[in-house]
């Protein structure tokens, strides 16, 4: 126990340091030409006591860009990366399937239906302004989960295989619905596809501030079930013998993970590979203990997404590459490399 704690602190320390460095680097990069020195002066100026000592010698727009465009974007990347990774770890733990990711139960397609519907009819900013699409996406995402859950329930019990199958079915059906809407649209095809491929553009502070409490709560809940997930790895019956409330665990972990995912997707679109790969990478580094995997996945996911987003907006600046594309391009090869290393270690 002591050993685990110590390892957790060491890894978290390293992870958090890397996270802070990534935030620092990402905020300093962007399509507007602002020197790194200026970036840091602007940020330091915001601190309560130290800040007053910093002399203001930058143009107004620079401050707006750093504080209202880049910083919120990096913060959002941290939150979304953490949320998706933790949700992915939760799914992998409870479904005991290494291919499980947060979108296994069809949440991604579900949320996309809501977003595509609004964009198709040009209503993305109607009614409640820029909250329209996230709200619609969230509602359709949760509705999808509910349908999948009802489909999979048999006599009050939830069989994992049935659940995964229902998820696959819903994903196919809703994916077709989205394709249908894309085919109907002529002017907004680009916009729908761009939303689906994921992006952190023009989100501002509002989403981060509103999502943070829910994300924190979701992650706390999942962490509470870390021991149960460890025991799940032995099998459901064995876990039950060891005192785990199997059905309740399944339900709560799935629900929390899906809520995290739906919240993330509704704000940023479908960013794939984060929830699938990050928990595996962490597992390869620190082993199968969920008490380590869950928190470290959050940190690793945040770092991963910060860098993916930085590349997405810098590589072809000022054009932005959709974030989901970058995460796939980055994640797959790196994961393959880690697997190779692992294989070599086993061969001895």
């Amino acid at each position: 126990m002591n050993g685990m704690r110590r390892r957790l602190f060491l890894w978290s320390g390293a992870g958090l340091a890397l996270l802070v460095a990534s935030v620092v680097a990402s905020v300093s990069l962007g399509s507007a030409n602002i020197s790194i020195g200026q970036v840091w002066k602007i940020l330091l100026h915001q601190l309560p006591v130290v800040g007053d000592g910093v002399r203001v010698d930058w143009p107004g727009p620079s401050e707006q860009i750093i504080l209202k465009v880049r910083l919120p974007r990096v913060v959002l990347a941290v939150l979304i990366g953490a949320a998706l990774s933790v949700a992915g770890a939760g799914f992998q733990g409870v479904l005991r399937n290494p291919l499980a990711d947060p979108y296994t139960l069809g949440v991604a397609s579900g949320a996309s239906v809501g977003a595509a519907f609004l964009i198709l009819f040009g209503l993305q900013y109607a009614l409640i302004g820029s909250w329209s699409v996230p709200l619609a996406a969230f509602c359709t995402g949760i509705a999808t989960l509910w349908i999948v859950y009802r489909l999979a329930q048999m006599q009050g019990k939830l069989k994992m295989e049935t659940l995964i199958l229902s998820g696959v079915v819903m994903q196919a059906f809703l994916g077709a619905a989205v394709s249908f809407m894309v085919s109907l649209s002529t002017n907004v095809v680009n916009d729908i596809l761009f939303w689906i491929m994921g992006s952190l553009t023009m989100r501002g502070w509002t989403y981060s501030l509103l999502l943070f409490p829910y994300l924190a709560a979701g992650m706390a809940v999942l962490y509470g079930y870390a021991r149960a997930l460890n025991l799940f790895a032995l099998g459901e019956r064995q876990a039950a013998h060891l005192g785990v409330h199997v059905e309740r665990t399944k339900l709560i972990v799935l629900a929390a993970s899906t809520l995290l995912t739906a919240a993330a997707v509704s704000v940023t679109g479908v960013i794939g590979f984060v929830g699938l790969i990050v928990p595996h990478m962490v597992r390869l580094l620190v082993g199968p203990d969920y008490r380590m995997i869950l928190p470290l996945s959050a940190v690793a996911g945040a770092i991963y997404l910060i860098w993916a987003d930085t590349l997405a907006r810098m590589l072809l600046s000022p054009t932005e590459i959709p974030l989901g594309v970058v995460t796939a391009f980055l994640g797959a090869p790196f994961f393959a490399y880690l697997l190779q290393k692992q294989k070599r270690t086993f061969r001895g």
Partner: protein
């Protein structure tokens, strides 16, 4: 909505060169007019690289500067012209059944007085009023069956018609004429070309003369603006999209005396919020047809300090005027100039 692409070429220079060309052409109008009218290389409306002298706009006797003094020019058939895709299209007689696959073409055709010959329009054609009552034959994606059912002699469309439809129509021997005006000059050349094809040259010349007069009026009104006083303009014609240089929409900003903040880009691009904040435009135009777009622009994180938002110069524009490279684009130009320099342009 057509997203056609234009280059700004120097309207004044072009007009003067055209005038010169007109005088030369007038001199040789008597001899072999039929042959000259038939040559394909004179008629490349979307070539972009045409030297001003060669772009005679295809009228038989060249352009009369004031128009209306000579008898109405008659087109001599058979007439072969090259369309924007480079293909040569031959007209043996004036087309009687005309179809249009984009709203800007519809407007031009109606403006030339061809309303009764139009047998089909696309789903977005809504001007003039009569256009709404014409049979709908599909939009830019090209539903070939509806077009065939209308049995047109010629179909006018923008170049962005998808290739499959183009091939299908060619296969079925339906005459397709594509245009892609990339500048104000090319918009007007295209009008004159349609006038020639449909034997409505007098109407075409009058329409173009009116448009040129409107452009000149706007250009004159803003010509005294010193370079350092020019207003920076940001135009968002679709949520998250702006236009760089090389498009007719950007040329509108230039002629109206403004500076397009996205001028370092080319073509239709997604905006980079950092760049827009850095450029600090004095006035922001947004398309009036997207509900809630104004509030979204104003609420964008970090945009509140932009001059245009601080001074409340966030102005809607009518996309039917500005996003269509048709006869009303000069009206859109005037509206834009009025918004940018309200004290100079009436």
């Amino acid at each position: 909505m057509c997203r056609d692409i234009f280059t700004f070429d120097g309207i004044m220079k072009k007009s003067f060169a055209l005038l010169l060309a007109a005088c030369v052409a007038l001199g040789s109008a008597g001899c072999g007019a039929a042959d000259r009218a038939g040559t394909a290389n004179d008629e490349a409306p979307a070539g972009g690289a045409q030297p001003p002298g060669a772009a005679q706009s295809g009228t038989n006797g060249g352009k009369g500067a004031a128009g209306g003094e000579e008898p109405a020019k008659k087109t001599v058939y058979p007439l072969t012209v090259r369309d924007a895709s480079g293909k040569e299209v031959r007209f043996d007689k004036p087309p009687e059944r005309i179809a249009s696959l984009s709203p800007s073409e519809t407007e031009v055709l109606f403006a030339l007085g061809l309303g009764d010959k139009i047998v089909g329009v696309d789903d977005y054609s809504n001007y003039p009023e009569e256009a709404k009552n014409k049979p709908k034959i599909g939009n830019l994606q090209g539903n070939a069956e509806a077009i065939i059912a209308a049995n047109p002699d010629v179909v006018f469309a923008g170049l962005s018609l998808n290739k499959q439809s183009v091939d299908k129509l060619t296969e079925l021997n339906i005459k397709l004429f594509t245009v892609e005006p990339k500048s104000l000059d090319q918009i007007m050349e295209r009008i004159l070309l349609y006038g020639k094809i449909t034997d409505r040259q007098a109407q075409a010349e009058k329409l173009v003369a009116d448009m040129r007069a409107e452009i000149k009026a706007v250009a004159d009104a803003v010509k005294d603006v010193k370079p350092e006083e020019k207003k920076k303009v940001y135009i968002e014609f679709s949520p998250g999209w702006t236009v760089g240089s090389g498009e007719y929409m950007s040329e509108l900003i230039d002629v109206a005396g403004g500076i397009n903040v996205a001028a370092d880009l080319t073509g239709w691009k997604r905006i980079s919020e950092e760049k827009i904040i850095e450029q600090n435009p004095d006035i922001i135009f947004y398309s009036a047809e997207v509900p809630g777009l104004e509030k979204t622009i104003r609420d964008r994180s970090g945009w509140s300090q932009i001059a245009a938002i601080k001074n409340n110069r966030v102005v809607p524009f009518n996309p039917d005027l500005i996003s269509r490279p048709g006869p009303r684009v000069t009206e859109g130009l005037r509206e834009m100039a009025k918004a940018i320099y309200p004290d100079r342009v009436k």
